[in-house]
């Protein structure tokens, strides 16, 4: 039997850190074990990207568009991940009976949500790189990166804002239950369009671009394109600096929102005896 001595348990920040990586783990390992995810998250965006490239070439669009589309296609993987894996994850965890155990454990719920996000970003990054590399080789895209540090900063901020939004959605989806699927379905296509995955958002006109900017990917993508395909006049809905600033604001707002909504969720769950527990 076990020795009766007491086990040391971490608290505070260390526990927060442990919890993040513990929850990220099944995401990371799981996706290497489930091959169908690989198909869903890599091959589908790849095909989508390729078909846009062919359409653009067929209608004789400027050659620069090929590069835009390839980058957009790579970033699509993140959007799909947020929409389908991040936003619905709390719902699935409740359904599987995990959420209840997460709540009972001393590991903070926010760390659990962050763990899902971290796992999601890491896994999706490998998909995005595959798409980027395969399409770049396939379609001969050339890049002229203006500033690598700035590019990395933009990417990181975009991810923070995007996954911040995903974390917020996770609480909303849990509260909304099955209705949320319809929202997800509804959002997928319009956002493909409005966010300018496959063409510069500037082309959409000012107002649509402004509305679309609530989705962090819109500005992130526009800024990244400005930095990668330096100097293309069709790019630049706003300046890179302005877009970075807005992205920073968006990340703060979304992450703050996620924290608040998660706390609210737990409170409602405990008060009304629903939301958290798996119902028969």
């Amino acid at each position: 039997m076990l020795p009766a001595e007491r086990v040391q348990k971490a608290t505070g920040l260390r526990l927060f850190w442990y919890t993040i990586w513990a929850r990220a783990y099944p995401r990371i390992i799981g996706s290497t074990r489930e091959k169908s995810w690989l198909f869903f998250e890599t091959v589908l965006p790849l095909m989508g990207t390729a078909s846009y490239v062919f359409v653009y070439r067929a209608i004789g669009a400027p050659e620069a568009y090929t590069g835009f589309v390839v980058l957009g296609g790579a970033m699509t993987a993140f959007w799909l991940n947020v929409l389908w894996a991040m936003a619905s994850q709390l719902y699935w965890d409740k359904d599987g009976g995990n959420l209840e155990l997460y709540v009972v454990s001393p590991g903070p719920l926010m760390a659990i949500l962050l763990g899902m996000a971290v796992g999601g970003v890491l896994m999706t990054a490998t998909r995005a790189v595959i798409i980027l590399v395969v399409c770049s080789l396939l379609f001969n895209v050339s890049y002229q990166i203006a500033s690598l540090p700035l590019l990395i900063l933009i990417f990181v901020t975009t991810m923070a804002a995007l996954y911040g939004m995903g974390m917020m959605f996770a609480s909303v989806f849990l509260a909304a239950g099955r209705e949320a699927w319809h929202i997800s379905n509804l959002l997928q296509e319009p956002i493909y369009l409005a966010s300018g995955f496959y063409f510069p958002v500037k082309a959409m006109g000012f107002w649509i671009a402004t509305f679309a900017s609530v989705i962090p990917l819109t500005l992130g993508l526009d800024a990244m394109r400005q930095l990668i395909f330096a100097g293309d006049p069709t790019l630049g809905f706003l300046s890179v600096e302005a877009e970075l600033l807005i992205l920073l604001v968006l990340s703060v707002v979304f992450i703050y929102g996620a924290i608040k909504m998660l706390a609210k969720l737990e409170e409602i769950g405990r008060r009304e005896g629903r939301l958290i527990e798996r119902r028969r």
Binding site: M1, Q8, T11, L15, P26, N98, V104, S105, R270
Partner: protein, 346 residues
Amino acid sequence: MDTNLAIQTKDLGRVYRLRGPKRKGDAKQLVALDGVNLEVRRGELFGLLGPNGAGKTTIIKILATLLLPTSGSALVEDLDVTRDVQEIRRRISMVSGGETSGYGLLTVEENLWMFARFYGLDNVTARKRIDSLLEVVGIADRKRTKISDLSTGLRQKMNFVRGFISDPNVVFLDEPTLGLDVTAARDVRGFVKQWMHDHPDRTVLLTTHYMAEADELCDRLAIIDRGKLLACDSPHSLKHRLQQDAIFNLKVGPLGPRPSRDAMIEAVPGVRQATVVEQNGHTELNLILAQEDVLSDVLAHLTRRGSSLISLEKREPTLEDVFIDLVGRRLDVDTSHHAEGEHAAG
């Protein structure tokens, strides 16, 4: 405050608001717990015994900080369940029957590691405890099996390891043997007993509706029904209350139209409690009689109703009898286990 108490509730109440289609006249709320006063001592293996819907899970959820009480108060290790949430969570764990937690793609070891980390265990400690606990419950050879490939029994053993990996002070077990076969259930009960033996300062609160389980495991138990605590004592003392009574099991021929408990109690003075179960063409009677000689009146009554005696057994009181005595009906056994379609009258 009493530092010897691991759990203490005072007039604990919980009312659920009912949602969904509301017709006029429908109840808008449901009283799941009504003024429950419970005291569980440190080091005790304490049982909550009650039929479906009695409020057992509700009590556990409140104590495990998953649910707020709507009235009264509850303390776990002298910490208030509404205020000291984080501190309580560090000290407790919970395992429920029929649990499907974890991720199917992960192995047993990986799942357990994940939960161990949520409790702040470092890597070395987590691995060490996973190995030794898996050994104890006898599934060390399944360490690298994906949990989606585990049978119900193996899975529940893994859940048990999860519940104890964090070295908790107070463990809540909600129907831990639900759906397990006889052997697996025995293993699980054996594990709990052994753990309590090795850790005399820890506390387990267990709910069940298996009488034998409560009888075998619990130092003390509370019988609850419809949100109310009816009795609280050791299994032995509870049964001792019925020592003066005579308890008989009768198997008789068909009892005529609609035999019922009430009819039985009315017809024969001295029948304190009765349950009537009709089963494949005969009737089983479980009678608690004030004295033994009431039996002859019972037999006479049966004859008058045109029934005949098939078998008769006098027996020692069980917890089931205690329950019947207190509640006036059987604690319905889990129907998924006993598919004979019995219906307790009354």
